[in-house]
Structure formats: structure tokens, C-alpha cells
Point group: C2
Chain length 304, copies 2
């Protein structure tokens, strides 16, 4: 059985694992994300002691440089996280471990994992949106994650914001009231004066949250019309929120796009993730598996 490695790098924690392309994890470790040097050394240490792997997939917090022709490929770019701006992640792993590294955003890796083993099975195109500390989207348009001159930054789209109803100015340091500024976890906490998980199910926060998320999702549907959308992240743990977003999204689409995949209720179109807490690292493993398969090694659009 060929084994591959997966690394999920997050703002607070990194998860490293070794697993099979059937989705079985045989070794794993969670590390605190400290300085890039220290964190990278700990990841390398894990893989030196773990069973040998044929390839490593990395799903990284962003923004990241994904252009294989760029000298900063595999770097974290302009992040507010101290010490991580222009930190090299992928090349250091490749050199220290003498193994090919496939490098993607955390959300793109999660999308690949969900398509391989989870809620995205059987789709030709798939969007994965996570709503937590920020709002991120991974877009699979065909086999590989889509990147243009940047990976998707759908969290930063502008959505209608009725300041008479919601005078909250938004938390995004770049854009104020973009989607992320209005609807990420910290925005909920700042608007209502307590963390999202302390807001009751009947709190008006959720109707408003559903409206913003649905507006962002409707724009995604009108732009790339993926076959399915997976909506996850800590904020979606709120009971009933997914159903509210579905209802609002259906209203916003207004019946304009006709497809059997948009059956009334959107219950099979807008779905929860299926891989739970393991989505990140399983996504990184799935990324390594996808890029390691012989038929994909020369595929156009393959990151490396």
C-alpha cells in the first residue's frame, strides 16, 4: 500500500498525517503553529519518524503563492500572522524530505478531500466554503482547484448591506463590510457582543447571517454555477443555520438558473461537509493522492 503525507497548516495548529489513498490515516500529529522555522522543523521531524511517503500534500492558510513558475511558489504571502509573511513552506519540505510536495490553499485541499471521500463525491465541479475566523472558498472547476491571477478570495466579495437594518461596519481590515467583514465568526461576535456559539437559535443574528451568506453563495452560483456547494466551518455549527441559508439562497436565485441539481429546497445542492474535524488533513492527503496518480501527473493545470 502506497502511503502519502498530508499537512494542514492553520493559524493556531498544524496537523500532519500519513495515510493511504483509501483515506485511512496510519499516523498523525497535531502541532502548535509557532514561528515558520520552528513549525516547519516539527513537521519535518514528524515525517522523518513516520512511515515513508510517496508525496506530501499541503493545505495552507493563505494567501499563498500557487504559481509553479514563481520563485515564491509554496510561500505564504501577505498574511497578518506575525512572522509568516513570505514564509516558504513547500520548498523547505521538499528539500528536507526529498519528496514532491503538492501545495494548495486549505479550502482547496478540503474540497479535494470532500470530493474524494465526503460530501462532494461524483461532482465535476464543486465549491467548498468555510465560515469561521474568516470566510474562504475552494473551487474545483474540473479536476484541479481553480486559480487565476490569485486563488479565489470569495470571502472578500461585496454583498448588499442595509445599514438601516444592520449598522455594523464590518471587520475586514481591507474592505470593511465585504462578505467576510459582515459574516465571519469575529464579525458575529463583534456585532452582537458575544461569541457566535452563545447566540440562541432564535436570535435575529442567524436570519441576518443567512442573508449575507446566501448573497455570497448566489453570486458564486451566478458566476461559476458549480454542481454542488459544501458549506462548513465553525459558524455553521449553529443549529438551523444551514437550512436558513438554503431557503434564502433559493429565494435569491429566483428560479433563474434551471437545473435538476437545483431541486426545490436545495437540500442536495447546498450541503454540510462530511469529513468533520479530519477534513483539513484528509484534504491534504487527497491532494497528494490526486497528484500522485499516474494519469494526473501530466495533467494541464497540475500545480507541480
Amino acid at each position: 500500500m502506497t502511503l502519502v503525507g498530508g499537512v494542514e497548516t492553520g493559524g493556531s495548529w498544524c496537523v500532519c498525517a500519513v495515510g493511504s489513498c483509501a483515506g485511512e490515516i496510519v499516523a498523525r500529529q497535531r502541532l502548535a503553529t509557532t514561528s515558520p522555522e520552528e513549525t516547519l522543523a516539527a513537521i519535518i521531524d514528524f515525517f522523518k519518524q513516520a512511515p515513508p511517503v510517496a508525496r506530501i500534500g499541503v493545505g495552507s492558510f493563505g494567501p499563498v503563492d500557487l504559481d509553479p513558475r514563481s520563485p515564491t511558489w509554496g510561500y505564504v504571502m501577505a498574511t497578518p500572522k506575525p512572522g509568516w509573511e513570505h514564509a516558504s513552506v513547500a520548498r523547505g519540505l521538499e528539500q528536507a524530505l526529498d519528496v514532491k510536495v503538492s501545495f494548495e490553499t486549505d479550502v482547496a485541499a478540503a474540497a479535494i478531500g470532500e470530493r474524494r471521500w465526503g460530501a462532494g463525491r461524483g461532482t465535476g465541479s464543486l465549491a467548498y466554503m468555510t465560515v469561521g475566523t474568516g470566510i474562504g472558498v475552494g473551487l474545483l472547476l474540473g479536476q484541479e482547484p481553480w486559480h487565476g491571477i490569485s486563488h479565489p478570495e470569495v470571502g472578500h466579495v461585496r454583498v448588499p448591506h442595509d445599514r438601516a437594518r444592520d449598522p455594523f461596519a464590518g471587520t475586514c481590515p481591507y474592505h470593511g463590510d465585504c462578505l467576510e467583514g459582515l459574516a465571519c465568526g469575529p464579525a458575529l461576535a463583534a456585532r452582537w457582543g458575544r461569541p457566535a456559539e452563545q447566540l440562541q437559535a432564535d436570535h435575529p443574528a442567524w436570519e441576518l447571517e443567512a442573508e449575507y451568506l446566501a448573497a455570497g453563495l448566489a453570486n458564486l452560483v451566478f458566476t461559476v454555477a458549480p454542481e454542488r456547494i459544501i458549506l462548513g466551518g465553525g459558524v455553521l455549527a449553529a443549529p438551523g443555520l444551514l437550512a436558513l441559508v438554503r431557503a434564502r439562497l433559493e429565494a435569491l436565485l429566483g428560479g433563474y438558473i434551471q437545473s435538476p441539481l437545483l431541486a426545490p429546497g436545495l437540500e442536495r445542492y447546498l450541503v454540510a461537509p462530511a469529513l468533520g474535524d479530519d477534513a483539513g488533513v484528509l484534504g491534504a492527503i487527497a491532494l497528494a493522492c490526486q497528484h500522485g496518480e499516474p494519469e494526473n501527473r501530466s495533467a494541464p493545470g497540475l500545480t507541480r
Copy 2:
């Protein structure tokens, strides 16, 4: 010299042409768009009398069915245009003329033409937005136009709408104040009480128009981040409007996406079309050329 055919079907007029894959038009005719039967018969008649063609490209007003597995491939779908709902365009041409037809939206064909001969040369990904009677977008993400469960319907995205500043409710019969409802030509005319071409260059209409268009374009950049965007259509004939949209788009992006292609001023990022009045039919010819080239005949994502 191999010749191909191009057909641009529009709400009022259709243009048929025969040309080369160097972009030279050797025969052309403009026909009124009447009933589907009469219009199709006139198109067939044109090609029967014109020099023989190896393939025909059609760029059609939408919405259209572009799924090659669908029994209604090549049909116009739920259009408000009388008589055209569920009108078969492509198959009728194929049968009557015994020639392969490549079928696309008008905006996708225009994008292909602009990439081959016009303002999109050299791009790996390209968006073409037209602002006229409606707002349409063609997206080339790689070689072929992107379609998910639908072709892009970017005209129908929601954008911020400050009703205190602009109480106009929007003209979209499906969504009211979506981008198209706020910013298409008829919306301008309805809001200000006279046609767009009669609004002076210093009229406040243009600042507002630029804001809506820039919001829609910013969302497109944050979602698919194309290498270039071409912005055309009748409304963009207004002097100075393109420059206003560039300035507003740059402000909305807020420096968040870092790319040398987004150089200050966006003058090489957001550009006017180069093919002028011929864009539609040249796009249809370019579509036929692209699909007729041996290396593309078996390309994944090729419509037919």
C-alpha cells in the same frame, strides 16, 4: 484556405458570415431576428449560397442549453423573447447544412474572438462583460468557455445598493436590483428618465453606474481572478465611463490581490474590446476555428 462560418444571433438582428481563421471575412449578411423558423431558414439560405465552410460557430443570446449530453443541446431556453423559448438553433443548422456546429453564448463567443484577434490576446483566462440591454459575461478559464450547471449569469449577482442614495428599485423581472437590474441600459434610462446616450458626461448617473459595475467586477476578480477583463457593450460608449470603472474597481479591490497584472490604474487589466461591431460574428468564427483545430477536437470540455 479553410473557411468557417459564424452566426451571431441577437434579440433584434442576426449576423451570418463566412471567414478564415486569420480573421478575414469573405461574405456576410445581416438578418432581422423574426420567428425561429423564419430566421433559421434565412441563415441556412445564406450558407447554401456562400462558399462552403468546414464548421459553423454560433454565438447565441441566452439562456441557452450548452450541455452536449442534453436532448435540448443548442436550444434557446427560458427567454422572454416571443417564440424563442425552447427554439432549436444548432441542430437545425447541422442537419440542413451537414456541418458540425459549435454553439456558445454570444458573450463567450465574443471572448474567444477577442482572445484570438483582439483585446484578450495572450491571456490564459479572460472575462468579457457586455453592458447593454442586459449584462452578460463570458468566462474563458483555460481554453474553453466555462460552464457549470449553467453558463455564467454574472448580470444577476447582487451588489451593494444604497437605497438612500439611489431609491431606484431595479429593472430585473427576476431579481429587481441585481447588477443588471441596476446598471443595464434600460435601468439607466428608467432611473434618469432618458436614454443613456442622452446623459451628459458630467451627469451623476455615471459615477453611480461605475460603482455598480465595479462592484460586479470586483466580485468576479475575487471569485475567478481572470488575467484580464474586457468591458464593452453600448453603455460603455459613454465617454469616461471605463476610466471611472477602473478607478472604482481598484478602490474596491483594496490592494488585497497582489499580481503584476493589477498594476496601478488597471489600464492593462480592465480594457475596452478591440473588435468593435464585428466582435459578435468574429467571435462565432473564432469559436468554429478553435473547435476545428486538430489539437482541440478531443479536448476535455469541448462542447461537441
